[in-house]
């Protein structure tokens, strides 16, 4: 055999004629266009058992399913968007932060009934408490008429501030307004009317006897 007619088997390395399709030694299929210089030693890394079988075309890295356009994900609703500017997180050494527990709680994260505006305007519950305290004192200190009136006005002002600014303690602000209103009504009644003469002595007698 001439050298240009020789084909070396890729499995056992035996020499075969160029016209042969199968190796005379091991029976593996010979590559049709393999030359003597290229095929010198069998490559042990090749899959021996795959020889002779029709080789499938290499599948692409991705599988194209349809020709349709890529579907973009839906935008995140505003209710569950997190305002990272106001977030103050304490990051621990292992990289986790205190908000992992919050994120794992879906009710805390996806509570769409609480608008972000209330979170920004909240706080300052002391104003509502001060309003209620002033309202109570205006009731208790009715004996000191003008002092009671000043306390009632202060309670009304603080209550209105709480409601307008949307601070915490809305109920206390309303209670402060109510008590202050009662204090002012008592003050106005006492200033507006005078004790009726026919009943004054009887009233004094009853009140002194009871209290």
């Amino acid at each position: 055999m001439s050298e240009e007619m020789k084909v070396f088997c890729t499995q056992c390395g035996s020499e075969n004629s160029a016209e042969a399709k199968f190796c005379a030694n091991c029976g593996s299929k010979l590559e049709p266009h393999a030359s003597a210089q290229e095929t010198t030693q069998p490559q042990t890394t090749d899959n021996v058992y795959a020889e002779g079988l029709p080789q499938e075309e290499a599948a692409p890295a991705y599988e194209k399913v349809t020709e349709a356009e890529e579907i973009k994900p839906e935008p995140i609703p505003e209710e569950i968007q997190i305002n990272y500017d106001n977030v103050q997180g304490n990051f621990s050494a292992d990289g986790s932060n205190e908000y992992t527990s919050t994120y794992s709680n879906p009710s805390a994260q996806y509570n769409s009934s609480v608008p972000t505006a209330e979170v920004v305007n909240g706080g300052n519950i002391g104003v509502a408490i001060a309003s209620l305290v002033c309202g109570i004192l205006s009731l208790v200190c009715c004996c000191l008429s003008w002092f009671s009136f000043v306390l009632a006005v202060a309670a009304i002002v603080l209550g209105i501030i709480t409601l307008v600014k949307k601070y915490d303690g809305k109920g206390m602000a309303i209670a402060g307004l109510v008590t202050a209103g009662i204090g002012i009504v008592i003050f106005i009644i006492c200033i507006g009317i005078s004790a009726a003469m026919p009943y004054e002595e009887i009233l004094d007698e009853i009140v002194n006897e009871m209290y």
């Binding site: 509502a128 408490i129 309202g135 009731l139 009715c142 004996c143 000191l144 209670a175 004790a195 009853i206």
Partner: protein, 145 residues
């Protein structure tokens, strides 16, 4: 003050507890002094302007005497004159005891903030109820007379 500020926000119950600790001793000293000689020297001259004008008591009427009888030990008379004083002192002592207990013996409970507004709501209710009871009794006696 670190004790009244947690997570960047002031806790109202801590603030009231601090105020309560500050005024506890002066409050007790004043009470015993007032029950001893203070009421006879200064308290008995206080009169209600509203009662002087229209003859009917105001919501705070009887408060001074109620305070006097409370530190005298006469709880029943104090309750009859003005229940608000007894409620106020009771609420103050209750709040202070609860805060002290939580801080000293129940560390987990100290994390929960005591809602001060419920004490205030109770005060409003007590004031209005005792005032309405007084008004009703006076009017009832007036009608019968």
């Amino acid at each position: 003050m670190k004790c009244i500020k947690r997570d960047g926000k002031y806790r109202v119950d801590e603030l009231f507890y601090l105020i309560g600790k500050i005024i506890f001793i002066p409050f007790c000293l004043f009470g015993f002094w007032f029950a001893g000689s203070g009421f006879e020297a200064y308290g008995s001259h206080i009169t209600c302007a509203i009662r002087d004008l229209c003859g009917l008591p105001c919501p705070g009427c009887g408060g001074t005497r109620a305070f006097y009888y409370l530190f005298q030990g006469n709880i029943r008379e104090s309750l009859r004159l003005n229940a608000t004083v007894l409620y106020g002192v009771g609420a103050y002592l209750h709040f202070m005891l609860v805060m002290f207990w939580r801080k000293r013996f129940n560390r987990n409970g100290a994390e929960r903030e005591i809602q001060i507004q419920y004490y205030l709501y109770g005060a409003v209710i007590v004031i209005l109820v005792q005032w309405l009871v007084k008004i009703f009794n006076i009017i009832h006696r007036l009608v019968l007379t």
